[in-house]
Amino acid sequence: MRTFLFLAIVVLSGTGGDIAMTHAMKRNGEVKNFSPRALLGVFRQVSRSGWAWLGFGLMILAFVALLALLSWAQVSFVVPATAANYIVGGVGAKFLLKERVSRARWAGMLLVAAGVAMVCAVR
């Protein structure tokens, strides 16, 4: 039970962090100028967004939960199981970021999730 709770925290907060960060970057607008000065300006602007800080906080929570989980659960279970990120990410992108996730993209994400689970499975 504790293992699945922490796994859920890892997957949901990790994906939530990415989604909040994506939202912060999208609100700031497409980056077109890649000079160091312009990029510094972009990140200064984004750091004023509450979404960016929420994203950062959720990413840290996911990392800490992963470390805690790895202290008792087997890597061979934890790492492949986090491939669920790809499915949860697709759901979050569709409903929270309002992206048009086509059938092809769902199929691709399922293939990637299965592939990552297989590559990460330790024997």
């Binding site: 497409e30 993209r105 691709g108 990637v112 689970a117």
Partner: protein
């Protein structure tokens, strides 16, 4: 918003750099941390000494620099491309580790990992055929 064809041309170099920098950062950090040893009796003084030792290692700094660059590029590409596009496409990094381990270190990689790598490539190819942005934002 950049036109779709230009958007793809702009997105691809960034998506190539993301998994390379991520994998490189992990390898460099791993190389740096390998020689650090284990903390057996944690106390404030031993942790401080350990931290100083870690921060005086050039490989750790190179790894952190690479991971920082990875994060910056990942966030930049998310300013115009869909999260549901970037997330699966950058999973190609999972293929790099067994491939490099096999080619550079001569490690024997189990067949299930190669099958997984094929699944990832197929998934990336399928997602890569969809437009990078569907929201018109960015």
């Amino acid at each position: 918003m950049t036109p779709p064809r230009n958007l793809l041309a702009k997105t691809i170099p960034f998506l190539i750099m993301v998994p390379i920098l991520g994998s490189l950062g992990n390898v460099l950090l791993g190389k740096g941390m390998r020689g650090m040893g284990e903390i057996r009796h944690p106390s404030v003084s031993t942790l401080a000494i350990y931290l100083l030792k870690v921060l005086s290692n050039v490989w750790v700094w190179l790894g952190m620099g690479s991971l920082l660059l990875f994060l910056v590029i990942y966030l930049l590409v998310l300013s115009w491309a869909d999260y549901s596009y970037v997330l699966p496409v950058t999973a190609v990094g999972y293929v790099l580790a067994p491939l490099l381990a096999h080619l550079l270190l001569g490690e024997i990689v189990p067949s299930s990992r190669w099958v997984g790598a094929v699944f990832i490539f197929l998934g990336v190819a399928v997602v890569g055929r969809t437009p990078p942005s569907t929201t018109g934002r960015g």
